[in-house]
Subunit: 165 residues, 2 copies
């Protein structure tokens, strides 16, 4: 076991970002600790949108959802993606101007999409906030990071926002 290769290789590091300040703090931690100025590592920003809502023609009170409302909701989701990716860009561009960044936007249950993406792209490390939640607080507190820490094969870094503890 001791014969582990300690040489740095080019790593693919996924940071799961959402609307929370904690996920932006996790990104900062990642840049400050897993990236150097001359790194060849790739930063993969992963944002998971909630699954497309199944709109019934009538809501519980019997009102019809107009297509305008549906369009507005979809626009809101798309604005959120841009907003989160924009905040992330502000952070990583301060760190280095030539960092290799990939963006992935998934859709579905956050914990499943994160685990699936990490495996699919053969990520070397997953970094995430501990209390990530997004659109409409779609997940129970803490359950996403718990789930991912248990299920992904690569090392998982769980970062807590110092002010939120």
């Amino acid at each position: 076991m001791e014969a582990v290769n300690l040489k740095k290789k080019e790593c693919k590091i996924v940071v799961a970002v959402d609307e929370s300040e904690e996920s932006m703090y996790a990104l900062s931690w990642c840049l400050g600790n897993l990236f150097s100025q001359n790194t060849t590592n790739t930063l993969v920003l992963l944002y998971v949108k909630p699954p497309p809502p199944v709109y019934s023609s009538f809501d519980a009170a019997g009102y019809v959802f107009s297509s305008d409302v549906i369009t507005a909701l979809e626009k809101y989701g798309s604005d959120l993606v841009n907003s989160v990716m924009g905040r992330a860009e502000t952070i990583y561009s301060k760190f280095s101007s030539n960092i290799n960044v990939e963006r992935i936007v998934g859709s579905g249950d956050a914990k499943d999409v994160i685990c699936h993406t990490v495996e699919k792209i053969k990520a070397d490390t997953l970094v995430m906030g501990s209390h990530g939640y997004g659109f409409l607080k779609r997940t129970l507190l803490g359950s996403v990071s718990d789930h991912c820490a248990k299920h992904v094969k690569c090392p998982v870094v769980i970062v807590k926002h110092p002010e939120k503890i």
Copy 2:
């Protein structure tokens, strides 16, 4: 939130080591990813011995525990500490000859001692294996890393042994 200080500071990084290969792999990951050759970070190796056994004069079958048995058990515990720290040294000395290393040997329930130590020494990061267990498999599978990820305030890295997944 974006105004996070991205400059590297001198960090105190705790690696919880035990008899498992996974914890040695976690140490390797830590060195390869959180330490550079010219780092000023401090590596803190933390080993937790089980709590001192409360020896009844008689065991369940009514036999007396001789002091020889007790001494042998204590010797075994002390040998384990030396063995684990020795394996760790083999790994970090291959990485760098001038790495700043501290060793802490605690005693008690691993999850409590790890959390307490991390807070006490104001560690910046905790690195541990996901399935750590030690002497007499004293903890339930996975429960130590689960507990620590939830309770310590600093970022926690949970590393899995790639061959054990």
